[in-house]
């Protein structure tokens, strides 16, 4: 599967985990979205470093963009493929879901 397809699947899996599997419902809380807002700003900076400097490079056949590394446009945001934003969202959401879920279990079974 392409990075684009996998990235969309990653977001859907993260949301499903939050809402129906772990039932943490973080996607309904202000705290999660406020935290994500902060994180995504720094993701754009740090990922811009990784991709703008070509520390990481991508096969153009697997992303929306055509391989050109642009500040914005051609499927890129701050040099990174837009797919990276979806990957990052999935990782951050899954992390917060796991953290909160484990915290609840700890409280229920101390």
């Amino acid at each position: 599967m392409t990075y684009t397809g996998l990235a969309v699947a990653g977001v859907l899996a993260g949301v499903a985990l939050d809402r129906w599997v772990a039932r943490t419902r973080l996607t309904s809380t202000r705290a999660f979205w406020a935290a994500y807002g902060i994180i995504v700003f720094f993701q754009l900076l740090t990922n811009g470093w990784l991709t703008g400097r070509r520390i990481v490079r991508y096969d153009p056949d697997t992303i929306i963009g055509n391989g050109a590394v642009r500040l914005i446009g051609a499927g890129r945001i701050v040099y990174a493929p837009v797919e990276d934003l979806l990957f990052g969202f999935g990782l951050v959401l899954t992390t917060c879901v796991a953290w909160v879920w484990l915290g609840r279990r700890q409280d229920e079974h101390p």
Partner: protein, 121 residues
Amino acid sequence: MTLPHWSYVAMLVFCLVGTLPLVRVFHLDVLRQPRRLLLTIALAGLPFLGWDLYATHSHQWWFDRAQTLPWRVAGLPLEEIAFFVVIPLVSVLTFEAVRAVPSRGRHDREGDGRRERGPVA
């Protein structure tokens, strides 16, 4: 090794330098719960590391040898593996810092099922 080899490491250090002080500023108990933290990193980091291995091995992306350290594990630079420890850690720290902010944090804590910040070690 030359300075450019540390380019990816620099990004990870930046993430940690930016978030670890949150522990002190907001009196977070995240680092005092090592078991919960390690399990979180495992539960969230491992599936995404698996994705990364798949993507790297199927050549969807690759890493510049001139800007990463020479060591590779399963074809990934060490920094890329550390990424899946650092990003979950900084995510938890940011999330807990936001929840520690008065008023807004108190409201959202209800969604956690935790009434107060108990001494969970």
